[in-house]
């Protein structure tokens, strides 16, 4: 098989997987088996594609003259696809434990839509042009809606409605006009290293476009379009873990990074005055979200606000412009993915094992769930940016990129945010391990084995990532230099 043959499989495998899940709906073990096999297959396909190093192009259809629905891999997209498909395997295993332990209803629908969401994420990752990106971006929103509304009660429905309203509203109202405008200016929407807008748009127009893009990609959750993320926390925890720590939110920041590199071009963007304003907005989001997180007692909401802050790290790094900062943004996507999914896994485990959802209830839980809380500690260290975790390296690189670009504002934001991150994660660790347990509601140990296994794996990834960061940086470096020099 050539690299071009692998490309269609990125969409076909998840779709067939979803069909298989529906067909096997009556036999839970078989259904879960299909899920795991599908996720392994998909990951294997992505790895094959990444190993081949070729950049084929697959045109699905050309709905309008000159407007293609086409997929084509490039290093950034492959990175995102690897993260999403790789963590899907772990999440599947985790989900079996979670969904069974909670006796959730409608599990067949749950797994089927999960597979479809991953398929949509693959489409976002490999999109060869703006139109394709938009199609799969919307497909991702729509296919995750049933997962967010899974519980089907009024609260879930209200949360899911907010989710849909903000994501669809921003994408139709801001992203789509930006895409059409880009088409009108540049005559194309193809992602091209070095950008397509240079020479076609003045600094003011480009600035307005950038604002439309950054706010239109609501999945990146830059304030003020961040509210959908806490609202989406009504979903079952595996959904929060994979979609709202990895696939959906990372799709958002990944799209922004891709736009900066392939549509605007870093060099062109450096001459756009409004770009600074967006950098400040991202910086503000980092600090504001962390401050809000400081006051949350619900663990999942705390993690949601922490995610908002961390996403804006990536946006901020991308907008800092420059090779190092661009690489730092890409690395932070990976770093935050493994650490945040671990945190969500632990939150779900605590909930399943003990029924606890609030930070204030966690006194002494480290002694009952030592493995879980150790994983939590590792991931929290990565969030704060302390060695020996991958978060330390990505944060280091963001700092380095900021200093290279003389962005003292970014440095300042990082310092404040690190303090705030420590401010809301350290007390949880302290409670879990050093405070005595209060009145015992019920005896419990660790969560079911699949869940524990999953969170141990992601915690290890958080540590290993620190060693693998070098490979990632050397693979992606050519993209960023093309972006900043040409």
């Amino acid at each position: 098989m050539t690299a071009g043959d692998w490309l269609p499989l990125l969409l076909i495998v998840p779709m067939l997987g979803a069909a298989g899940i529906l067909a096997a709906g009556r036999v839970p073990n078989l259904r879960e088996g299909v899920t795991v096999v599908t996720s392994l297959l998909l990951f294997w396909v992505v790895v094959q594609l990444a190993m081949s190093g070729a950049e084929p192009r697959w045109v699905l259809t050309e709905p309008l003259p000159g407007l293609q629905l086409a997929l084509s891999p490039e290093p950034l997209g492959l990175l995102f696809a690897l993260i999403a498909s790789g963590l899907w395997i772990v999440t599947s295993v985790y989900a079996f434990g979670y969904m069974r332990a909670k006796h959730e209803a409608k599990q067949t629908r749950f797994y089927a839509f999960f597979a479809l969401s991953i398929g949509a994420a693959m489409g976002v990752a490999m999109a060869a042009n703006l139109f394709t990106l938009f199609v799969f971006y919307e497909a991702l929103t729509l296919s995750t809606y049933p997962l967010v509304a899974h519980h089907g009660d009024d609260k879930a429905r209200a949360g899911a409605r907010t989710y849909l309203r903000i994501l669809l509203g921003t994408s139709i109202g801001l992203l789509l006009p930006a895409i059409i405008w880009t088409h009108q200016l540049a005559g194309t929407g193809e992602f091209t290293p070095g950008g397509i807008l240079a020479g076609h748009a003045g600094p003011t127009v480009a600035g307005v476009l950038l604002v439309l893009y950054v706010l239109g990609v609501g999945k990146a959750a830059v304030m003020p379009v961040h509210r959908w993320l806490p609202a989406a926390m009504v979903a079952p925890t595996p959904v929060s873990a994979l979609l709202h720590a990895v696939a959906v939110v990372k799709a958002g920041v990944f799209v922004i990074l891709k736009l900066v590199v392939y549509v605007f071009g870093m060099e062109f963007l450096a001459g756009v005055p409004l770009e600074r304003a967006l950098l400040w907005l991202a910086g503000f989001t980092v600090v504001a979200a962390s401050t809000v997180a400081l006051r949350q007692d619900n663990l999942k909401r705390l993690l949601a606000y922490s995610t908002i802050g961390q996403l804006s790290y990536v946006v901020m790094a991308a907008l800092t412009l420059g090779t190092t900062a661009g690489l730092a943004a890409a690395l932070h996507i990976a770093a935050h993915a493994v650490a945040k999914i671990t945190l969500f896994f632990t939150a779900g485990s605590i909930y399943v094992a003990s029924g606890k959802t609030q930070v204030s209830q966690l006194d002494g839980i480290g002694r009952r769930m030592p493995v879980t809380m150790t994983a939590f500690t590792v991931a929290a260290l990565s969030m704060i940016g302390l060695p020996p975790t991958v978060g330390f390296i990505s944060k280091w690189m963001i700092l380095q990129g900021a200093l290279e670009a003389d962005q003292l504002f970014v440095v300042l934001v990082l310092v404040v945010s690190t303090a705030l991150n420590a401010g809301y994660f350290m007390p949880i660790i302290h409670r879990a391990f050093f405070r005595p347990e209060r009145a015992v509601a019920r005896e419990h140990g660790e969560a079911p084995p699949p869940m524990v296994a999953a969170l141990v794996v992601t915690a290890f990834l958080t540590l290993l990532g620190a060693l693998a960061a070098d490979i990632l940086v050397s693979t992606l470096a050519p993209v960023m230099t093309a972006g900043s020099s040409g």
Binding site: P63, P65, V135, E138, R165, G169, I172, P177, I180, Q184
Partner: protein, 491 residues
């Protein structure tokens, strides 16, 4: 021989079938007969489309009298497109109606109702086929009168009121149109539209010509349900039998919009229009007001038929906006959306009809969880809804894409924003329906899918929305051609 006369036969055939249909006995025969006629019409329409593709404009002199004295039938690219649309929708909706109407109306009326449907089809086809302005009026009245009768056939007694309101409003509109035509005739002494177009330019600055323009735009605007002349439409479509509503929503307003484009660009001509003060901004303003008002009203309506009808008011706004840009790109975008909107609205109304057939109501409060009982119908409804919103890869996206490009070309950003706001509002009012239909507990406890004869046409149209979204190139190119030839001829 037949091919040569196809241009007339496409109108004459359904007309001749009307009395036959009215006299047919039994519940089933009239519907089946009407279906056969519709398929034959589709055959003619396809032939004519091929003819236009080859020769450009087809002309036919009725009774051998040469224009401008005799009546001329004239088929250009735009007319052929709308004619094909009419034939397509009739060919799909009539078999559906054959099943649903036969179940809904009294025995004695079945023949009559299909006769009225055929008469409606005749009128609409005639408007498109003719090149004579007075002939347009005659066919417009034929279609309107049969439309009033069909709407009065609704299940509820309120249908009579709705029909009566439509009758009053429609007659006012027709009278306005006739006054406009009279003024044009007084001014030029001709009624052939080609002839009018050549005589108008030197006269267009006269107050008579401008008054005629206003009367014609207002009269046709009423038939097309252009805001604020739309009040008859929500009642009429909500109360009419669903099959009738599907056919009329997909065709009647579209043909009126066709007449509007024909008179604006084919009779008055672009350069003359630009000289009329405030005409363009007035049309654009009405279009935007319709887009927003229709969507806002749809958000508050409780009856699905009403919601869909109000959304038609909004969609008419989109099409009108395309026309009101007074550019080739704008007119082409309007035509694309005109065609595609017919597909999506027909699919939605047919799906609604299937639901009403099973549940007996189209009221949101009584339809909880219907989707679980009727998954296929619901899939078709979702497809139509996505297309209506304008999700990429559906038919609805294509028209909006070109419309936005045409607007951006002129740098009118406020129009882009208005279109996007209306799109977002459409998400809201359609999502309300989807949420209710999927809610539990369901009103229908078990699987209770619509009969195959209702389901197949519905699914066919739903798939058409997808196909037209993925392979829009032929339609787009045809519309561009129609638009270029009309605007080229007009100036």
């Amino acid at each position: 021989m037949i091919l040569e006369h196809a241009q007339v036969l496409v109108v004459a055939l359904p007309l001749l079938a009307v009395p036959v249909c009215a006299l047919l006995p039994s519940r089933r025969w009239p519907g089946q007969f009407a279906t056969l006629v519709a398929w034959a019409v589709l055959g003619f329409a396809v032939l004519l489309m091929a003819g236009v593709a080859e020769q450009g404009v087809l002309r036919y002199q009725l009774g051998g009298w040469a224009p401008p004295w005799g009546i001329e039938y004239r088929l250009d690219a735009m007319a052929a497109l709308v004619q094909l649309l009419l034939a397509l929708i009739a060919a799909v909706v009539f078999p559906y109606a054959a099943r649903s109407l036969a179940d809904e109306v009294d025995d004695g009326r079945v023949g009559g109702i299909f006769a009225a449907l055929l008469l409606l089809l005749t009128g609409l086809l005639g408007i498109v086929a003719t090149g004579d302005a007075f002939n347009v009026f005659v066919f417009l009245e034929i279609s309107s009168l049969s439309g009033y009768a069909l709407i009065a056939m609704g299940r509820r007694r309120r249908a009579l009121v709705a029909s009566f309101r439509y009758l009053i409003m429609g007659t006012v509109g027709a009278t306005f149109f006739l006054i406009g035509l009279g003024l044009l005739y007084a001014l030029t002494g001709t009624l052939n539209m080609d002839d009018l177009a050549t005589r108008m330019p030197p006269l267009s600055a006269s107050p008579t010509a401008q008054t005629a323009l206003v009367f014609i735009v207002a009269g046709i605007g009423l038939k097309a349900a252009v805001f604020p002349l739309h009040q008859w439409l929500p009642d009429a479509y909500a109360e009419a039998p669903p099959a009738v509503a599907a056919f009329m929503a997909a065709t009647a307003t579209k043909v009126a919009l066709y007449v509007l484009a024909r008179f604006l660009f084919g009779v008055f001509g672009l350069e003359q229009l630009l000289e009329v003060p405030a005409l363009q901004s007035a049309l654009q303003g009405l279009a935007v007001a319709g887009m927003l008002a229709g969507s806002l009203l749809a958000m508050r309506a409780m009856d699905i038929g009403r919601i869909l009808a109000l959304s038609s008011v909004a969609q008419v706004g989109y099409i009108l906006l395309g026309f009101a840009l007074f550019s080739t790109a704008g007119l082409a975008a309007g035509l694309v959306h005109l065609f595609n909107h017919a597909l999506m609205k027909a699919a939605l109304f047919l799906a609604l009809g299937a639901i009403v057939h099973r549940v007996g109501s189209g009221d949101l409060s009584r339809l909880e969880g219907v989707a679980h009982a009727m998954p296929w119908t619901m899939a078709a409804f979702m497809m139509g809804a996505l297309s209506l919103i304008g999700v990429p890869l559906t038919a609805g996206f294509v028209g909006k894409w070109y419309l936005i490009l045409a607007v951006v070309e002129q740098g009118q950003w406020w129009l882009v924003m208005a279109m996007l706001v209306a799109s977002i509002l459409s998400v809201v009012y359609l999502w309300r329906i989807v949420e209710v239909l999927y809610r539990r507990p369901a009103v229908l406890p078990a699987r209770h899918e619509a009969p195959a004869l209702l389901l197949l046409p519905t699914l066919l149209l739903a798939v058409a929305n997808l196909v037209m979204g993925m392979h829009a190139t032929p339609l787009v190119e045809w519309s561009m051609r129609a638009s270029a030839s009309l605007l080229g001829a007009g100036s």
